[in-house]
Symmetry: C2
DNA sequence: TCCCTGGAGATTGTCAACCATCCTGGGATT
DNA sequence: AATCCCAGGATGGTTGACAATCTCCAGGGA
């Protein structure tokens, strides 16, 4: 499954023929290759197609995705910073499982901190266009709930929160979020099989409504409920 | 200022002379080159030798540190994950300043979350050797305070907390810490010029003592005081 | 004058081939 | 049984060459 085709190719240059070489650009603007590799790997790990502890060998992945080791190396580093992988010098990278306890007691509270801050920051700056954007995601969640589509629900959930994070323009907050988000995502997929999608959609609708009210205290409360409460019962 | 000398060199091979080539290994085990590059850059940024927004050009850095672009690229990515740098595709990396507000309202609270968790996790596992290790750092802080040496004090401070973090063996917690710690460090250097080093040393001594008592509630309280309180007055 | 276009130059992103360095897992030795 | 040694496997690093983009600025046209 090639990540993207070769960037440029010239038609087989026949030795003594006039240089008609038509450059066949298949490049398009799909951004750096490493990002494509990153997405593939992240998806595969998140969806559980790798076992915890399984090795990720640069050369193999490079061949599989039809690219060179460079982009693969960078993608692996990124995955390490997203906590989906651990690696030791000269020994390579292995898949790292998410422990329920750490997610509940560390990642979720950290996330709460981030969101509380950025919601406060973004409050005045939000206009109707922003709310419309968020409403769209809530709508998607409702659809996903109706279709019992966990994937779409989680994606919309993430986008909902990410929209506000990015809108708040707090560089460091966003940085921490990027590092935490993939793990939370992976966690939802693993332990969220029997999550109540309707409830998720409803909660976000409620959160959005509270946001529109502009009442800071109410927002903090809604956030805390929304983020903290869903403990998949230990 | 070369990061490290060439890995292996053979004595100038005189054309028609018997292959006496004595391999002059200067390698030693100083780990991956990227780490050396990383440390140099991190230090320079932390110490304010780069202005906020200043560009970090791969080629220039590679030449300055006498290495190739590979390790430099990896170091820059790492710095990005440490929040000391931001980069955009095809546009390169620039130094990112730490905003006091984000440190106070985001990074510090996040840090508190991490430490609370890991301290609880590590409680029973701590033995006298561990406490001795921590006592050593407290001692260093006292020394640094006496000499009014901010650098040494901050270093020992970081090591104190990092020791417990790593001792707790919580992979995800440690991951987040690694991403946050450099920024907090940089923050201390920038805004901590008139910090009371004696107070810092004392607080850690107190924290250590509380740790040895094994009283979980007391430890949480001490942590909260220690980490949260030092607001350099806005 | 102001806006738009089209390079030119600079820098990042990728490739490929090669070598150094380090880790791992036997097998032979003691 | 414990230890040492070695070969194979993988990662870390180098080089040189291109491809892909971005930035900026000079001209041209409205």
């Amino acid at each position: 499954m090639p990540v993207t085709q070769q960037t440029t190719e010239t038609v087989e240059a026949q030795p003594l023929v006039p240089p008609i070489q038509l450059p066949v650009k298949r490049t398009r603007t799909d951004g750096p290759r490493r990002d494509a590799v990153l997405e593939v790997l992240r998806q595969e790990i998140t969806m559980g197609r790798y076992d915890d502890g399984e090795r990720l060998v640069e050369d193999r992945i490079a061949r599989e995705l039809d690219t060179s080791r460079g982009p693969v190396r960078e993608a692996l580093r990124q995955l390490e910073h997203e906590g989906l992988v651990v690696s030791y010098p000269y020994r390579g990278a292995v898949v790292l499982g998410v422990s329920e306890e750490e997610v509940q007691q560390v990642l979720i509270p950290v996330r709460l901190t981030l969101e509380k801050f950025s919601y406060l920051k973004v409050l005045e700056r939000m206009d109707d266009a922003d709310f419309a954007e968020l409403a769209k995601e809530v709508w998607t969640m409702q659809e996903a709930a109706a279709a019992n589509d966990l994937l779409r629900s989680v994606e919309a959930d993430i986008r909902f929160h990410e929209y506000i994070l990015s809108r708040s323009g707090q560089a460091h907050t966003a940085q921490v979020w990027r590092s935490i988000q993939p793990r939370i995502r992976a966690y939802f997929f693993r332990y969220g099989k029997e999550a109540d999608l309707n409830r998720i959609a409803f909660e976000h609708g409620d959160l959005l409504q509270t946001l529109q009210s502009g009442d800071a205290a109410a927002i903090m409360g809604a956030l805390e409920n929304h983020i903290t409460i869903r403990t998949p019962a230990p």
